[in-house]
């Protein structure tokens, strides 16, 4: 027995590697996403795969579960080498993966989703039969679900349970979860981690992808750290702490986002963004906002937190003029927002969540993207004609000011890294006479350095006097950056906190609807630090 196998396994159920990845290499064009990684996972362990965005964690696991084919490398399962043509082949040897974006059919019931591709369903089925089967599966794995509900109507946490159940019900012995807690409330996350530990105790190998240090420390038996496509180290949890792990994750610990901080502001503030009693429905016609009111003042960051899908998207769209509210008003600096142009005219900068999808046009050069906010007027346009020279000069100047990796403004935006694309977007949105900003998950998918740059830019904007509305699913980010925090739940603002950082637990509870069971919003003021809307 080679010394390698001695390390790590502690459950004692088996010394065989449940999954052994050897020499794994995966390239995407010029980028090597996974670079010669060797890593083995044991049955009965919770193994965390830690690394920042773009470190190659998800790619490596997509190789292991048959979603991608490696350029080089071998996959061994239970002592045999296997090859995967598709996820089907991986399922056949007991490897299943739950992706960050759920792979469920919204138009199907829970029971139907559990039956997709399953061989144990009889060829001639009925919904009664499927529901019974789903209940049995739920019981077997101790995760209750409502079999007859349409998946599209479930909460994110419930969808995740369905997805995990579907994977487990196929006889999965290696369960891979990609950032499973990213969309959950703190309470749901704890429940999930509890479940995972139980599964591991019964002999399942759990691989848990995450970039959150604390969470990894609380759930994992062993931790593997990836950095820029390479496996950096594999360590047992004992003896690790946040500092030692972050030293493994990052080249330079000082890059961590604790380095940005609010500077106190003592001057008088006035209301800049005033949102009054917004009611609006989503694309399907269901109620999304049910009477939302708040204000954002100058020199202030207001954080909006909530589990994804509680009306954040509609709120963003109404404030920026992309969506018409059913009732209620949005004013920016006193001017009502009717459409995108009036919002822009009132001095609103917008940093949308999906920068390449909504903010930038990847197949077009930097200069055309740089002028998307000011192309309508002189000096860029004169007499209806775009003056390319002026536009290029403007773009070059902007690239210089935001320190883009290239000064060649003819480069296509799709060739920029995520960090540089975000720099361009933020620079463009902040350039000019602005009074307010709406930023949605502005650091999502960025590495730590780029994320810090973006956070710094947001705080600089605040210090220049802008009113900043930060809508984010990342609770820690919101707590770090915000002067005030409001919690959105099912289309309503259910709580407001001024000294938010010291009320992390309460906010977490509110995100999951905890205000309903705990105390009424009115009485929560005194003990939770919540304040009234009015000053």
């Amino acid at each position: 027995m080679e010394p390698a196998a001695l390390a790590g396994t502690q459950s004692g159920t088996s010394h065989a590697s449940a999954l052994d990845l050897r020499f794994m290499v995966k390239r995407f064009g010029a980028v090597t996403a996974v670079n010669d990684v060797n890593l083995a996972f044991s049955a009965g362990e919770v193994h965390a795969l830690l690394g920042e965005n773009g470190a190659g964690k998800s790619t490596l696991m997509n190789l292991a579960a048959g979603f991608l084919a490696p350029d080089q490398g071998e996959i061994w399962v239970g002592g045999r080498q296997v090859r995967f043509g598709s996820p089907r082949d991986a399922l056949a040897v007991g490897i299943g993966m739950v992706h960050q974006h759920f792979r469920l059919v919204d138009a199907f019931t829970v029971a139907e989703n559990l039956a997709i591709g399953a061989d144990d369903v009889s060829p001639r089925t009925s919904s009664r039969q499927l529901n019974k089967r789903a209940d049995l599966i739920a019981e077997q794995f101790g995760m209750p679900v409502q079999s007859a509900r349409l998946v599209g109507t479930l909460s994110v946490g419930e969808k995740q349970r369905v997805e995990i159940l579907r994977t487990l019900s196929r006889g999965t012995r290696v369960l891979i979860l990609d950032e499973p807690t990213a969309v959950l409330t703190p309470e749901e996350s704890e429940g999930l981690c509890e479940n995972l530990r139980q599964m591991a105790a019964q002999g399942t190998c759990i691989i848990f992808i995450s970039h959150k240090l604390k969470e990894v420390l609380s759930v994992a038996d062993r931790i593997s750290v990836m950095r820029k496509g390479n496996l950096h180290a594999t360590v047992p949890r004992e003896g690790c702490d946040v500092v030692s792990l972050s030293r493994m994750m990052f080249d330079d610990v000082s890059d961590e986002f604790a380095s940005v901080a609010l500077t106190p502001y003592d001057g008088a503030r006035s209301d800049v963004v005033v949102v009054e009693d917004l009611v609006c429905s989503d694309d399907r016609g269901a109620a999304a906002l049910r009477g939302v009111s708040f204000t954002v003042r100058d020199h202030e960051v207001l954080g909006v937190v909530g589990v994804a899908g509680n009306g954040q998207q509609e709120l963003e769209q109404v404030i920026t003029g992309l969506r018409q509210a059913d009732s209620g008003t949005v004013r920016i600096g006193g001017e009502p927002v009717r459409d995108v142009r009036s919002a822009m005219g009132a001095g609103l900068a917008h940093i949308p969540e999906d920068r390449m999808g909504s903010g930038l046009v990847g197949s077009q050069p930097i200069w055309r993207n740089a002028i998307m906010r000011n192309y309508r007027t002189a000096p860029v346009t004169q007499g209806g004609v775009i003056r390319a020279k002026v536009a290029r000069a403007y773009a070059a100047d902007l690239a210089d000011r935001v320190d883009l990796s290239t000064r060649d403004v003819g480069v296509l935006v799709q060739h920029l890294s995520g960090g540089n694309a975000q720099k361009l977007l933020v620079g463009r949105e902040f350039d000019g006479d602005r009074r307010a900003v709406v930023a949605v998950n502005p650091t999502q998918g960025l590495d730590v350095k780029a994320a810090t740059t973006v956070r710094t830019r947001l705080l600089e904007a605040r210090d220049r006097g802008l009113a900043v509305l930060l809508i984010s699913a990342d609770l820690d980010e919101v707590l770090t950056l915000s002067d005030r925090v409001v919690v959105i739940y099912e289309g309503r603002i259910v709580g407001e906190f001024t000294d938010a950082a010291s009320h992390r637990d309460v906010i977490g509870r509110y995100m999951g609807g905890g205000h309903l069971s705990a105390e009424s919003p009115g009485t929560s003021d005194s003990d939770s630090g919540a304040t009234d809307d009015s000053d």
Binding site: P87, D106, F108, G117, T125
Partner: protein
């Protein structure tokens, strides 16, 4: 007798809808797994000519239909390989293959223009039912293939809603990533159903040349493939909607004959355009009512290329 005219019009409407009904039912299967074969018009043309050639050479309408189905499936498979496997634009490739079918069937078919079909599809009156009063003989004196085509949507409805395989099929069209993650071979099944839909389309085309028209003429389908394609939209992706839609358009297309005999004071072109105008109108009305009700009824991943990972 006016009644006799109406009865024969009903008979023509039902019989004349067979080709469209077969093609549309096949297309429904294709769209349920997430692909739309816009080259259906070309598939029908290929089926129409190959079926006719087979009948002329073998003297058997059964072989004619089978060959029409086979070549329809092969032609559709070309579409599938290019679009499903190579993830190219379905509209571009569909239009291209219609061109190819139009050109090739014209060149090859020029030898068969004016050739009479030795063994046309025979009528098969059902004893008893066909002698019922009113429309008995109109409805129950059709060819075997017309009865089968009418039964087909019921079979498809059963397959889609009551079987394990139907559930997997619908998953392919709703969210191929879900199906893929659950171990269903997405590309394989999509190709299979493109071929199946092509077979139905090809048989539909052969029904045109061997039954309804009884000869080969250049561009014999004259837009029937497109109408079949539109009927699937019109049906709200429901098999029984396809059945109704096909008969509705069959009825529209024989209105002209009825009108002439009954002496309606309208130019015959009004009746020529009814199926086309009707399709456009119904599509708009459907979309409008759906917009009001909210929600969509088409397979959510219809027409989107599937990339894993």
């Amino acid at each position: 007798m006016a009644d006799g005219i109406v009865a024969s019009a009903v008979a023509t409407a039902i019989g004349g809808s067979t080709a469209i009904l077969l093609a549309a039912t096949g297309e429904l299967l294709v769209e349920k797994v997430g692909v739309y074969n816009i080259a259906l018009e070309g598939v029908m043309l290929v089926g129409a000519l190959s079926g006719l050639i087979a009948d002329v050479n073998t003297g058997s309408w059964v072989i004619g239909l089978l060959v029409g189905g086979l070549f329809g499936a092969l032609f559709a498979l070309c579409f599938g390989l290019i679009t499903v496997v190579l993830r190219t634009d379905m509209i571009v490739v569909g239009v291209a293959l219609i061109f190819v079918a139009l050109g090739i069937t014209d060149v090859v078919g020029s030898k068969y223009v004016g050739v009479s079909v030795p063994d046309p599809i025979p009528k098969l009156p059902i004893p008893g039912l066909s002698s019922l009063p009113f429309f008995g003989s109109a409805i129950f004196s059709q060819s075997l293939i017309t009865y089968l085509a009418a039964a087909l949507p019921f079979g498809v409805a059963f397959l889609l809603s009551r079987t394990r395989h139907g559930l997997n099929m619908r998953a392919l069209g709703e969210n191929p990533h879900a199906a893929d993650t659950a171990g269903i071979p997405v590309v394989g099944w999509r190709l299979f159903y493109v071929a199946v839909g092509g077979a139905f389309g090809g048989i539909g085309g052969a029904v045109l040349t061997l039954g309804i028209i009884g000869a080969w003429i250049t561009n014999v389908t004259a837009g029937q493939g497109w109408i079949a394609f539109a009927i699937v939209f019109f049906s709200g992706w429901r098999p029984l909607g396809v059945l109704l839609g096909a008969y509705f358009f069959g009825a529209l297309s024989v209105l002209g004959t009825v009108g002439q005999v009954e002496g309606w004071d309208l130019p015959s072109e009004v009746f020529t355009v009814l199926p086309y105008v009707g399709t456009v109108a119904v599509m708009i009305i459907r979309a409008w009512s759906q917009r009001r009700r909210g929600g969509i009824s088409w397979p959510a991943a219809l027409g989107l290329p599937f990339y894993r990972g």
